[in-house]
């Protein structure tokens, strides 16, 4: 009886292939995540092209423009690096926190506070103008990192002590940080009623490549600054912490399995506070390097959303500190070129679409999708 029904169904004309989805049992090959990320980016570029042509633009020209305006010459590549430096530091800040599954969405606010801390050293002023440059840089870096760390400490402490959701609290701290800076820009450090502080003295500027043009001609006009060294050093330090230290082991264990970590006697609460502080300090350093390396004064709108782009950078880099450096350059290019693209929301939309397809692509890490012949399974 049952045989006849099965033979009847197989006689019916059906498409001979079907898609089969099954959980991946073995670990995917090493190149696989990279291929997936690349695929996700290509897919997003296609989607964005669709949207651009939908609103009446020419996607090919837009992409050409982005490539030319960010990698076209040494000069613009240097500008790309300038945009990438804060993204590198914030991407590292996010990678560290996300590795523990601690959602620090407040890098934007920590960036603003870092900028504020560095400015306070110059504008209060905490140092005489005759102090040597390296003392200035050291003080400003410490102040920026300390303020960023404080801004990270608050949500970290609230999370550890009262179990306050860190996503919401870090986000709220962003808005508070912007208002805090605005108060000082408008009321305390305003220069002649303008909404900006006075220009920092040269001694408080991070050295740029162009400063060495007198010794080596081709460097003239290149604006890449010392912040790049900070970022690369930070990547090494974060990598060492995460993968070569006991603390990093604790962080990774909490991220993978908090219950196991608890049973192993690891204090999750203490780690939440410390990781938030280090994460905040890195974002604060980003703010410090931006204000002393690029803007040279405290003003509003110092960030085109670095804090949020940094989240995407961290995710695209799969939380790998060295990959963060490379991915940040790509997004630096997007931000640099994005300034001139109309409509002005496109870079933000591109970032959103990239993140969406990136997360969707994670599915293929966990599942194997194959097309099989129907006959094979019978």
């Amino acid at each position: 009886m049952s045989e006849t029904t099965s033979s009847q169904t197989s006689q019916r004309k059906r498409f001979p292939y079907k898609i089969q989805i099954e959980p991946r049992l073995k670990e995917a090959p090493k190149w696989y995540p990279f291929a997936l990320s690349l695929g996700a980016i290509l897919l997003s570029l296609l989607i964005v092209a669709g949207v651009i042509s939908l609103v009446g633009g020419n996607p090919w020209k837009t992409y050409q423009h982005i490539a030319k305006a960010s990698f076209g010459s040494l000069g613009v590549f240097s500008d790309t690096m300038v945009k990438a430096i804060p993204l590198m530091l914030i991407g590292l800040a996010c990678s560290l926190a996300f590795r523990m599954r601690l959602w620090n969405i407040g890098a934007e606010g920590q960036f603003y506070l870092g900028a504020f801390g560095a400015s306070a050293v110059v504008l209060t002023p905490l140092l005489p103008e005759t102090a040597p440059k390296w003392v200035y840089i050291l003080y400003m870096a410490i102040a920026g990192m300390a303020l960023g760390a404080i801004w990270g400490f608050i949500p970290g402490f609230l999370k550890a002590k009262f179990n306050v959701n860190e996503i919401i609290s870090t986000l709220m701290m962003n808005y508070i940080a912007v208002a805090w800076n605005n108060y000082f820009i408008y009321a305390i450090w305003t220069e002649g009623g303008f909404q900006m502080s006075k220009m920092f003295p040269k001694v408080a500027w991070l050295p740029r490549l162009t400063d060495f043009a007198s010794k080596f001609k081709p460097l003239a006009g290149l604006t890449t600054h010392l912040g790049l060294v900070f970022a690369v050093l930070a990547a090494v330090v974060i990598w060492l912490i995460l993968y070569r230290s006991r603390w990093g082991y604790e962080i990774r264990l909490i991220g993978d399995n908090p219950r196991a970590a608890e049973y192993a006697g690891i204090s999750i609460k203490r780690n939440v506070v410390w990781v938030m502080m280090l994460s905040g300090a890195l974002a604060g350093l980003a703010g410090m390097s931006e204000i002393t390396g690029v803007v040279h004064r405290l003003q509003g709108a110092i960030s085109p959303g670095y804090g949020f782009t940094g989240i995407i950078v961290a995710w695209l880099a799969k939380l790998n500190p060295f990959a963060v450096i490379l991915v940040a350059i790509l997004f630096g290019a997007l931000i640099l070129a994005g300034r001139e693209i109309q409509p002005s929301g496109i870079p933000k939309m591109v970032q959103g679409i990239i993140l969406v397809s990136l997360i969707a692509s994670d599915f293929f890490m966990r599942y194997k999708i194959s097309i099989v012949r129907r006959a094979e399974e019978e």
Binding site: S169, M172, I312, I359
Partner: protein, 322 residues
Amino acid sequence: MDLLIVLQAGVASGTVLLFATIGEIFSERSGVLNLGVEGMMLIGAMAAFSTALKTGNPWLGVLVAMLAGGLVSQIHAFISITLQADQVVSGLSVSFLGTGLSLVLGEGLSKAGTVSLLPNFSIPLLSQIPLIGKIFFTNQSIMVYIGYLFFPLCWYFITRTRPGMHLRAVGEFPSAADALGINVYRTRYGYVFVGGMLAGLAGATISLAISPGWFSELTTAGQGWIAVGLVIFAQWDPLRAATGSYIFGALRRLVLDIQGPTMLLGARNPFYYNPYYGFFLQMIPYAFTIIVLILGSREAMRKRIGAPAALGLPYIRGQRGL
């Protein structure tokens, strides 16, 4: 500064939060944390405003806004329910996407001129009640009145009806719900859609009623995130959500209006004489959100109530666990 006017305007501004918060409650009750509220609200505000501009019909704008919010929410639903990705990151990405998309599609809308807005009116009889009538029932937008009817209905739906019980079962114990014959996936998709529609409605309420116009990201100014925070404070209960939303709305108004008068509580008003203190006032709603979260989680710890048990966890049929 007239306290009555502050409260009256506060109720109106709280209505926006009310819709967004209750939408998120529906989504989270089904077990899906959707952090995309801010993005969906922006999409809704943009869609409502541009539709009203094109067609001259604000109601069509509201409809389109709800559909648009619902559609965007389905991206999150697909990624987090079907593809079982991390809901936090997925929600964040939807928020970024919604923000970016609304900026691109809303390009130029801020200079587009005025549109016909949703009507304002007073309720006869009810507006005669001293104090309460003036605050709640005089010259309010129709969306505010819809809000009054809406939150008790939602509370009744979630706590007292059969589909509401199914909703809670799916969020608390999906495998048991599945065994009872409730389609977990369909339920979750459905309520994420409802959440998206309500976020879209909240956006439309801003751009067509409460503070009309399109001001790109400043249209919502973080209210979507405040709504996500309010859900925790509300302990996933629409009645508490309403209380929280209206208090927040009043606070937002108070912060704006407190700079007006020269005297405050019989003393010189520092916010009038030094307008720069306004920046500290701007911080208050955000700081207050954090305080509310502290209070909410302390109370939750004391009463041992918490989020829906399956919140944030993808349901995989046949797998052990929830």
